[in-house]
């Protein structure tokens, strides 16, 4: 029974999902970005016929292969967890997850078993152009796989294109393209893959700088740096642009997350953007205040609505409501959610009693646009009694967001500098930059992980925005089971990560081999 739900079960299930997702995301972005970087390098090889470019391509392809091999299937654990730990959620989302994940599975299988094989095994067996096409298709295939996963995730943040069937307790897809091409899905996909490209570009620059530091593989390293810097510069700027698009989506569909990202307590017109700030201690009352903050005046209003004087709601507006701005109070949403849950309860009883006429009557009510808009829309709120539970962990979201943004701008400057010095062939004059590049590899992983923290912790307490809170989504499993599997995953994934790092470091030490 829900009233007996165990908060520690929810916490452990969440921790386990976060652990597996974060480990999975260590491997994925490098695969997504490195695939395109080596495709570009191979294109230069095919165009110029210079064997040095083949040598460069093959080296990065080897590192791609190691990362791909270690990372492949780590995401499948997340699907296991949906079934075992989150069965209410899995049933409730219905075919919304099924369709994109099935497409992803089929696409990944065909792309990975064919084009990757040609890419690795086909150097001497197929023509240059056919091989090049396989490399590009591997890159495109890997990225399209990511698209479907991100579409599924975007639906959880902004559930569109679906209709809830109260008889089956499942959401049914009413428009595939509404789900696949929702503005949230497009922005999420573009922002996520572009930051993956930035990660891969930093990785290439960092590893290449290690060679320059060791005074090895000079030409290889410099050429790699130039390709990666061009690629990285384009996509670090693109990441900033798509980040802006994503933030607008969050402001529109997840205003509480947006307020948490900026630590905005009280909304008003002409809100400034916190460039940097230190929050005061954040207690049980969840009062957000700053020790100090550096603010760009009116910028948050502009970034949210393209209007310097527009209103941006704060946490208090969303909890207490704001009549002037037409924002319902959290308490009002809770009451409306309870009405929707009561209707579903009545339907459940009628179904159990075999009263089909009453079942049909209530099911029709769930299809009524007025009921959908004014009651079912707030379904998930009905599970709360304390409005403060609707506020996510503000400090974690705030700091994660700001670390991500600060690092994002640092990467733009990083690529500009390396591209400029690379073209001018002056990299060796600034050897300290090699250390910066190597240190930037862990930094870019921090940036990408904090991005996911903003996305996923920021939307708490929801597993599906406004419809299903996390505490309702869990299965009937014991905490001990989840704790056991948590530590098992931790052990297995850590071993995998260590294995990857050992093999990667060994390959990097060996360095690129001959081009032919």
């Amino acid at each position: 029974m829900i009233e007996h739900f165990d908060p520690s079960l929810v916490d452990w299930s969440r921790s386990q999902f976060a652990l597996t997702a974060m480990y999975h995301w260590i491997f994925v972005p490098l695969t997504l970005g490195l695939a395109f970087i080596m495709a570009i390098m191979e294109t230069i090889y095919v165009k110029t016929g210079d064997p040095q470019w083949k040598k460069i391509t093959k080296f990065w392809m080897t590192l791609f292969g190691i990362n791909f091999a270690i990372g492949v299937s780590t995401g499948i654990i997340l699907e296991f967890e949906f079934g075992s730990n989150w069965s209410n959620y899995s049933w409730f989302v219905g075919d919304i997850f099924g369709a994109p994940l099935a497409i992803e599975g089929i696409m990944a299988f065909f792309m990975e078993s064919t084009f990757i094989a040609v890419m690795f095994f086909g150097w001497k067996k197929v023509s240059k152009k056919y091989h090049l096409a396989s490399t590009w298709l591997t890159a495109i295939g890997a990225n399209l796989s990511a698209l479907w996963i991100l579409v599924a995730n975007a639906w959880m943040q902004n559930p569109v294109g679906t209709t809830f069937n109260p008889v089956t307790a499942r959401n049914e897809m009413s428009g595939f393209w509404d789900v696949a091409l929702s503005s949230t899905a497009i922005n999420k996909f573009l922002h996520t893959i572009s930051q993956a490209y930035v990660l891969a570009a930093i990785f290439v620059v960092g590893v290449s700088c290690w060679y320059l530091l060791k005074k090895r593989e000079n030409l290889f390293a410099k050429r790699s740096i130039i390709v990666a810097s061009v690629f990285g510069l384009i996509f670090s700027i693109f990441t900033a642009v798509t980040g802006d698009g994503s933030a607008k989506e969050v402001a529109k569909h997840q205003p509480m997350k947006f307020a948490a990202m900026e630590g905005l307590t009280q909304g008003h017109n002409g809100v400034g953007l916190v460039a940097f700030g230190i929050l005061k201690e954040y207690g049980e009352e969840k009062n957000v205040d700053f020790h100090f903050k550096l603010e760009i005046p009116k910028m948050l209003s502009f970034l949210s609505n393209y209007d310097f004087n527009s209103f941006v709601p704060g946490i208090n507006d969303l909890i207490e409501g704001n009549d002037e701005q037409g924002i319902l109070s959290a308490q009002e949403k809770i009451e409306r959610g309870k009405v929707a849950i009561a209707a579903l309860r009545e339907l459940t009883v009628a179904k159990k009693d075999g009263n089909q006429a009453r079942v049909n009557e209530i099911a029709a009510q769930f299809n009524d646009p007025d009921f959908k808009e004014n009651y079912f829309r707030y379904f998930g709120y009905g599970y709360f009694t304390n409005t403060k539970d609707l506020i996510p962990n503000v400090p974690l979201v705030f700091y994660s967001f700001h670390i991500m943004v600060i690092l994002g701008f640092f990467f733009i400057a990083f690529f500009m500098l390396f591209l400029w010095l690379g073209i001018k062939d002056k990299l060796e004059n600034y050897r300290w930059l090699f250390f910066v590049a190597i240190a930037s590899i862990p930094l870019v992983y921090i940036a990408t992980q904090t991005g996911w923290i903003v996305a996923e912790v920021g939307r708490q307490p929801w597993v599906i925005q406004d419809l299903m809170p996390v505490k309702i989504a869990t299965s009937h499993v014991t905490v001990t089971t989840v704790q056991t599997t948590f530590w098992m995953f931790f052990a297995v994934f850590t071993v995998l990560l260590i294995a990857e790092l050992k093999i990667l470091f060994k390959q990097i030490k060996i360095g690129p081999k001959g081009g032919e």
């Binding site: 270690i70 079934g83 095994f121 459940t348």
Partner: protein, 73 residues
């Protein structure tokens, strides 16, 4: 028919020769096989069973179970 077999044979030998000629790959394949065994045999069979499916055979039973979960608050 014989042409199809040739194509099939060529594909198979393409993969076999490819795997045999890998240098880093052999260690990676060992890791992949161990990983897949741990994930799909140990984890999936012993730790990640879908209780909703196991305890509720039909779709209707699963619906009723989740409806109970969603409404018995």
């Amino acid at each position: 028919m014989s042409k199809r077999q040739n194509i099939f044979k060529r594909i198979v030998s393409f993969y076999i020769e490819g795997f045999l000629s890998m240098d880093v790959g052999k260690k990676l394949w060992l890791i992949i096989l161990i990983k897949l065994f741990v994930l799909f045999v140990i984890f999936k069979l012993f730790f990640f069973q879908n209780d909703l499916k196991i305890n509720n055979q039909s779709k209707d039973e699963r619906s009723n179970h989740v409806l109970e979960q969603l409404t018995n608050k």
